[in-house]
Structure formats: C-alpha cells, structure tokens
C-alpha cells in the first residue's frame, strides 16, 4: 500500500512546464529524455475551446505492470510503496518500457531503464519531491490522501487508471 500519493490540481495547473524542467535538471539526463512530461489536452471547437494539462510520470502503482514484465526481477515495490528499478539487475531489455501504460519509463543511451523515484533522497530529508516544490501554482501535492490541500475538487473521470492503482489523483472543479 502507498501511504502517500501524488495529487494534481487540474483547475490551477496552467501547463507551465516548470515541473518538467525541475525534474529533468535533477535527473541529470540527456537533453531529449524526461522522467516527467506534460500532456496538453485541447478539446472543443472555437469558440467553445477547452484546455487542460496532465502531469505524467511514474505513479508507483499498486499493481505495477513493469514488475511483472521485468524478466530479471529488477523492479520492486518497497514497503513505502515506491516502485524502484535496481540498475544492477537491469538487462536493458525494454520490457518494462513496453508494459507501462503511462509511458513513464525511459531508456538511457546505455540501454538502462530509468523513471521517477519520487525524489526518494529528498523525501528522506523531509523535503517535498522536486516537482511539488517547483510548482509556481502550488498545484502539485505528494503526501497522505487525507491531506490533499485542494478543496472543492472532484476526481477526473476521464483518467484511465488501467486497473493497476496508480498512486495519483487528478482533481478538477466540479
């Protein structure tokens, strides 16, 4: 079980991409690799245009498909709920990348798989993860579900959790 979850306030996420940059900077990855990305959803026809953004990264699922997919048992879910890739075990086969329905795992040039680790080292210091701290709109949260600070919000019905219990809540205005 995940004690902590990610929550994203869609009502106030303006798609500024700051979290993407902050995450990329911390991860020290090549220019063209990201552990966190933003999906822009433009719907409706002018002038009834609508817009929203979804922050996508590893959601540390309850039943992670990547764990099943890894032939070398290199991915595990810890007691804290975080899903971790053991780089020593990774055989660069790419099966986990294929298995993740959120496209949240990427491959370095050396073939090794990498994904969001929820900034485990920073959480250990008592900080929020980098993406949460970076948000100029304070629209990101990581913590116990009953402490989500976004009030008067409902869950996004369009979000497909693929039945694997991602530790994330996308919230918008009723």
């Amino acid at each position: 079980m995940n004690e902590k979850i990610f929550a994203i306030d869609l009502a106030n996420c303006v798609g500024c991409l700051t979290c993407c940059v902050a995450c990329k900077d911390r991860a020290e990855l090549p220019d063209d690799l990201d552990l966190l990305r933003l999906e822009e959803r433009e719907t409706g026809v002018y002038p009834e245009t609508d817009l929203s953004f979804r922050v996508i990264h590893c959601f540390h699922c309850e039943k992670p498909l990547c764990i099943e997919a890894c032939p070398s048992q290199g991915i595990s879910k810890g007691e804290d709920g975080l899903v971790t890739i053991d780089e020593e075990q990774c055989s660069s086969c790419g099966e986990c990348v294929e298995a993740c329905p959120f496209d949240a795992i990427v491959v370095r040039t050396d073939g090794s798989a990498v994904k969001c680790d929820a900034c485990a080292d920073e959480i250990a210091k008592g900080w929020n993860p980098t993406c949460v701290r970076s948000c100029p709109m304070r629209a990101l949260f990581y913590g116990p579900a009953n402490e989500i600070p976004f009030k008067n919000r409902i869950e996004d019905a369009d979000f497909d959790d693929h039945g694997i219990g991602p530790a994330v809540r996308f919230l918008h205005r009723p």
């Binding site: 009502a11 106030n12 996420c13 303006v14 798609g15 500024c16 991409l17 700051t18 993407c20 940059v21 902050a22 990329k24 900077d25 911390r26 020290e28 220019d31 063209d32 433009e42 409706g44 026809v45 002018y46 002038p47 245009t49 817009l51 929203s52 953004f53 920073e122 210091k125 008592g126 900080w127 929020n128 980098t130 701290r133 970076s134 948000c135 100029p136 709109m137 304070r138 629209a139 009030k151 008067n152």
Partner: protein, 703 residues
Amino acid sequence: MPDSDGTTKRIPFTCSLDCGGRCELVACVRDGELVRIDTPPNRPDTLDMPRLVPCLRGRAQKRLRNAKERLTSPLRRVGPKGSDQFEKIAWNEALDEVAKRLTDVHDQHGPEAILHLTGAGSFGGRGFSGGACSDRFFSHWASVTSSFGNMSYWCAQIANQWMLGGTDDAIDLAALLDSRLIVLWAMNPAENRLGGNLAYFIAQARDRGARVALIDPRYTDSAILADQWVPIRPGTDVALIAAIAHVWEFEGLVDADFMASHTVGYEEYRRYVLGSDDELPKTPEWAAPITEISADTIRSFARDYASIKPAVIMGGWGPQRTRYGEQTERALITLSCMSGNVGIRGGGLAHQGRHTSDRIGAGSLTSGPFAPVVKMHKVTWAQSILDGSLQPAPQMAYIVASNIINRSAGTRANARALEQIDFVIVQDQYFTPTARYADIVFPICHDLERPDLVSGRGDLHYNEQALSPLGEAHTDNWVFTQLAERLGIREAYTGGKTEEEWLDKFLESSDLDTQTLRSKGILRTQGGVRPHLAEFRDNPVGHPLKTGSGRIQITSPEAKEHGLPAIPAYIANKPEKADEYPLQLVTPHNKLRANSSGHANPWLQRLEPHRVWINPQDARTRGIDPNDLVEVFNSSGTIAIPARVTERIMPGLVAVSQGTWYRPGADGVDMGGCANSLTSHSLSPTGGMAIHSERVQVRRRVS
C-alpha cells in the same frame, strides 16, 4: 550551506531574466561545477509572504549557461556581416582595437557618431548589468548618441500621464483576494510572469469565489484560470469598451457620482457613446461586427462587470501595441472609472501585481559629467539610420546586453542598418543574431559568474558569485574598466572600487540588514500598499492628480496635438494591402523565453516547438495540415515555421510568439521564425510600437 553529502554547496541566487518577476533559486555547486538549479527547500509559503517560486525559464538556467551559443572568448568577424565566420582573438588585441576605434571616431567624427545601444539581456542586476556599466563608462568619456522611448508600454504610459498624471497602477497581490471579478484583459500571467505569483493569486482569488474573465484573441494558458473566454478581434478593444459604456448608460449602471466628482470631460464621452452628435449609438449591435463578439455576450459581460464588485481589470500590454494604442488605454481607464471601482481595494485597473509596498532602497552606479545625446527612437532607430535622418551619420555602434535586431520591430531592416555601420561591437553572453553583425564580440559572464544586487518588488536579493566565468568570459564592469584604462579614464570609471566594494557602497547608504542579505541571499518587506488612487478617491481636492484639472481627464487636451480625438473614441485601423495580407498578426510573449533570452536553451526549445498558431478554418482554406511547414509573409519579410492548427486562436489571425532567433536562409526566408521579421517600424500617433496592427498571409512552403 553544504548538502547532506557534504560536497555540494547550495548558493542562493535570483533569476534576473527580463520577465518582470524576480524569483529565488539555489545554485548547487560541486567541485566548482554547477550540478543543478534548485529552490530553497523549506521556505514558509503564506499568502502574506509567498515563496518566490521560479518558472521554467529560471529553473532551466543550468542548460542555458553552457548552451552551445554561449560566448567564451572574444571574437573578430572574418566573413561578411551576418555570417557566422568569426575567429577567436585575445582580449588585449580586441580591447586595443575597440579603444583605438572609439578614439578615432571620437576625434574624426565627434562622439555623437558613436551609437550606444543597450537592452534587457542582463537586466536584473541593479549594480552591474550591462547597461548600468556602459552608461557609466560613456558618461565618464564623451556624449555619445543613445535612444529614447520604450517598446513595452509606451501607450499605457502616455494614457496614464494624460488622464491620471502619471501614477503607478500596480495592484497589491493580497488585494486580488478581495476581488470578486478579475478581468484578464489580454493579460497572460500564466506564461509571461508566472514567477511573480500573479497567476497564483488569481487562482487563489478564484478559489475564494472570484469570477475570472479572459478577453483575448487566444485561448492562452491563463484561460485555465478563467470562467469565461471572450475572444476579440485585435485592435478593437475600444469599440468593445464603448459598447459596454453604452449598456451602462442605457441601463443606468454608470457610477455617475464618481464621474461627476472625480473626472473631467465625461459628458463628451457620454455623447459619443450615445451617438448624440453622430447619430451612431455605440450599442452592442454596433460593436458586434467590429469586435466579433456577439451583442448578447457584450451585454451580459457589461452587466456582470457593473454588478460584481470589487472588479479589477488586469491589463496586458498587447492591445496598446497597436496603431491607436493610446485609445485602448484611455478607454480602459475611462471604463474603470465608470464602473466605480477606482481606488477600491480589489478593484480598478492594474497592469501589474506585486505583493509589497515598493523597492527596497539601495544605491546604484552613478553617472559622470557627459550626458548622452538622446535622439534615437527605440522602435525606429534602424529606419533613421537607413534613411539618413540620424545625423551625424553613425560610424560605430556599441551594443551591450541586447539582441537588438531580433527584439526590435523590423528585424530585416535592423540587420541592414547594422550592415551600414562601419564598426559594430556586441557585448553579450550569447552569440545572438545581433552578434553576427558585429566586428568585435566581447563574451560576458552569466549572472551566476558575478556578484550583484537584484531588486524585486519589495525585495532585495544578493547574488554571490557562485561559479567561475566560463572560458574567457568577463563581467561588463571588467570590460569597461579595461577600456577606461586605455582611454585614460580608469580612475573616473571605477571610482577606485572593485565590484564588491561598489556593492558595499550601494548598501552603506541604506539601513538594510546586510548580514542577513548576504547570508540568506534575500531581504523581503512585508505589508501591502493602499489601492491605486485610494487617497484621490477619498479626497479628490486634498489629493489632486498631476493633471491639468487635478481630476481624471476623460478628455485630454494633449491628444489633439497628436491628431487623436479628445476622448477615447474608437478609430478603425484601415491597413494598406488588406486583401493581399488578410490575416492579422499578433506576436505574444510565451513561457519559454524572456524576449529572446532563453532561446539558446535546448531544454526549453524542445518542450514546445516554435509554431505559428492558426485556426482550423484558416488552415483548411489554405490546404494546411497540422505541423505542415508554412511561410508567413508580408512586405517586411517571410518566415518558415510549422503550423499549429488550433481551436485556441480565433479565425482571421495568426500568432507567432516573439523571441526566437532570426536565421535568414539563402532565399532570405527567416528559418528561425523570428516574429519581428514580420513587423515594421510603424508607430502609434505618440510613438508607441504598433506591431500588433501588422497583417500577413500564410501559405504552405514548397520545398
């Protein structure tokens, strides 16, 4: 402040890109290398004292600092102007040559034949930004030619001067929480000034029940925060305002008491709105075909605006960068007066937000005895070189911290103007399109590579030098010290002080807690300001405005001197060649750059490809599919750019975000998609930049 591993130093610094925000960052430095840009981890974050959370531009500075366009040694051009053929030269050789050229032009043609052009490329450092140093240097040497005007908010400033006598119309961010209606009138805080907490406070106000309306030809990222989007044909804001005024007059919704006691000349505007003299009442039905907003929408918006109080209009500067931009701003002030919101907390008209009273006082570099000859217009400088009206004919241009050909209207003409000047020096952090027209290029330190003070709104930041300069880069102050030495004015220029000694002197004159400033990197003040014009509202006689009447001037005698009506009446822009160029062009700022700063950052370039926004209706009639490479063109130039076919823009116009770098191909087409390749030097009646009145055509590019 060592990190937990004991090897990483966390050094606070402040982003000083020219977006208007000043946000707190932390440089993580290990073994002299910048390993990461972070924010202070556990700063308290309250609505009284919100964290200054940087946006993506600030966060991405690690990759900007070492971008491949970063200048790391002095260069001399060896190919034609505009080419990338340069060779590295030694500092001494470059400095000797520039000093000799300065002296030669000074002696043979007089100092006025030297143009001094600066910009916002390294803006925030109050002590040693490029312009601060070059201003001081020239003021101790000779009276060279410099420029006047501004490209940002000229017409807003003029309207404020005429009507309000010149006042600061920013709104206290905390006051926004008391607003019940927030009208984003072409303001896009989610992209332009995200780091200043303005968008955050608008979101907070909305969560407290405020209604937010967005009046903009584009469904911007800020539309996420809006309850209503009212797309408007660019350049017709004044017609919309007249129609709202008509609804209010007709339905008795004008704050007539305020107009009578606090304004002068309203009757003339009222007669205009009601059509008393021209038999043309400015009804919503009249405005609908002009603005392309339905009469019903205008009426319901007018009623909302009249009934929901306090109501604030947050004005963006785009609508005043038009052919009659003065009228836009005059009409907005008039409407705000009529609504009765002036001087009320959470109401009024504001162009900026801020969270504390004012700047914290500290000194800055002072000027010497030689005042510049201010005679170049910031918008039309290139035109005045090309048509020979700038006299004496310039022999030399010294360009500091400014990608000037890119960021001023009329990029192609700007490049031609620099080609005409015999000797050009560009001093910058990056090898910009402007640097390609230089004879000598001086490489300058990134903000992390020099100490400085940075002013925010109510904050003062101290940037300690976090890193050694990359390559052979030096500070602007070092360059001018070397030149001053060669010109025999070293003592006058430096005042006998190092940069750190100057910073001490700037702080000495204040009663600031310099120890806290240096250790924490920031000093902040708390406490808001009274609403804009509050004193005047309370007592117009006791606190008169600096206008002719002491009141708000709805009629402006100055307007007539510029060929404008005395009142803020709508003037239709009748563009030439409207058939040939049927689409309007807007060139908004976007989140990836602060003007052209940040273009060189591959992280940001990749996040959102540069594309022209075009409505599916306009794309369809031109056979354009999403992401097709198209040409956007008019008589100023042609750019090649992929199409973003989107319902986020109204039909009949296209949007090219400004700031990408000019890159002319062999056929003269700008492959970099610089928005100013499509703009001209046309001005509003008082001299405002009219770039949002340009027109273009779009076609698929045939390769």
